[in-house]
Symmetry: C2
Subunit: 292 residues, 2 copies
């Protein structure tokens, strides 16, 4: 019962050699969707999985199923079951190679899309059967997802993470952030400011630069401030989703911890769950559903 | 009475050969502060003004006086007179070349800085003596300035313009904006949305991308939406500055017109004044004040 699980995003490809539900090997490469033309996916996959057994049954999620990916796996529309939809077969030349892709989920109004997170959601529910509440999936495009009775009821994407990267690298703030670390106190203060006065974002961002010039604000303080202002505005906008709800944050590392801390400051004790674990669980759930 | 007026910003240098208050020649180059080391400013100026008469008396404003400029012209702190402060002489090797720089203006709390706009403000007052009210100077770093009795009382900088550029070029929105034009109806609608729900900025930005994928939003609509959401949030934050006040917008072209239209939708009829005209008027006012 060998097969291969693959998490194939814009920037990376990660694969696990599986025996049933158990991982026997794993590998990753920078051959993400963004670096590949449609006819290059097969070679990129084979270069990574080499002679692993199980390539007769590859289940993949993520941007590999986007319009610019290996093959487009059309979105499932919300509301929809929070388990993987019907997998889409990718064309392959190699004898014995069978690749199937988990479709993303879209919402018509407000218009929104996800690819990859639907697998994490399925994995979270696989590990926490019957769970109802709000999932927060921080990242480049942070998702807030309302789950009820095993369905994705609605979701919202905030591009706060990508805004942080673009504003920190491609505006005058790059001078302010030239240095290491993140000041957690500056972050917490800025979350409160961002929540209280989200309209002032563009002004408070410039004030980061001005405080550096006039008052010696440090790079770590500047980075905490930039992150906190963006996440604070996001928490204000998502308030109806987390206030009085069960909340789980999916992710590892500093960003997930920071979302957890910001929610805790609002009196919400969010469960924090490792992102890789739920991705793999979602791929396993898809494999179970997909195996004939 | 020949002299030279120079507007020297981050990206450009623009110079006028003057006889008294009258322009007799003008020229510009891409040798902005951002492209020059401190010891390269003199050559960049001479390369532009060539054999113009009047180089015994050059008055310059803008980022040329920043810490990374020709020489730092320390900020005047608000509140301060809305006319140019004491000029700072720049070191020059060329016999007969005398260059003096108009200092920028800074504010301690909230921390804020300007370099170049103080000259436009002085020019506006030179052309409109006794004017009280709020000036809006749209641009990369849009300034809102409270003028009363010939003084800069307070000001706020919003980096909405630079946010537009960074988000439009360095995020997933670059796909949505790949095309020409700006849809003014989409702009007006987005201004209203940005004012009403500024916290939702990061989500509404991602929705631009999602509406392109799902509903065929055009690049012109996407550009109008991005601009409108940012300017709407800014107008909401600056409401206390323009509501019930006399407002003048300083600038030319589409951006100034768009600020004017957004204010008009709020019932504020702003006067729109050409930016180059007030810059030159401010340099003339500085030259009057500075000439022994």
């Amino acid at each position: 019962m060998e097969w291969i699980a693959a998490d194939w995003g814009t920037s990376n490809l990660r694969a696990w050699a599986m025996r049933g539900d158990r991982v026997v090997a794993e590998a990753s490469s920078p051959q993400g969707m963004g670096a590949l033309a449609p006819d290059q996916f097969e070679d990129a996959l084979l270069a990574l999985i080499g002679d692993w057994p199980g390539r007769g049954d590859v289940v993949a999620c993520g941007m590999v199923g986007a319009r610019q990916g290996w093959i487009e796996a059309p979105y499932t529309m919300t509301p929809c079951p929070a388990r993987p939809g019907a997998l889409v077969a990718a064309p392959a030349r190699t004898p014995g190679l069978r690749v199937r892709i988990i479709p993303g989920v879209a919402q018509s109004d407000p218009a929104d899309v996800m690819r990859g997170e639907e697998t994490q959601i399925a994995g979270f529910l696989h590990l926490n059967p019957g769970w109802d509440g709000t999932l927060c999936l921080p990242g480049t495009h942070t998702k807030w997802v309302q789950l009820s009775a095993g369905e994705i009821v609605s979701f919202r994407t905030f591009m706060s993470g990508e805004m942080f990267a673009a504003l920190g690298a491609h505006t005058v703030l790059r001078h302010s952030l030239a240095g290491d670390g993140t000041d957690e106190h500056a972050f917490a203060t800025a979350v409160a400011e961002g929540m209280a006065a989200p309209a002032q974002l563009a002004q408070r961002l410039f004030a980061i630069r001005a405080e550096g010039l006039l008052h010696g604000l440090s790079p770590a303080q500047a980075r905490g401030r930039l992150s906190g202002l963006l996440i604070g505005a996001e928490l204000q906008a998502a308030k109806g989703w987390w206030l009085g709800a069960d909340v789980a944050v999916i992710g590892t590392g500093a960003l997930a911890r920071r979302y957890g801390a910001a929610l805790a400051a609002q009196g919400v004790q969010a469960q924090i769950t490792d992102g890789s674990v739920v991705t793999l669980a979602g791929l396993i759930a898809a494999h179970h559903g997909a195996t004939p």
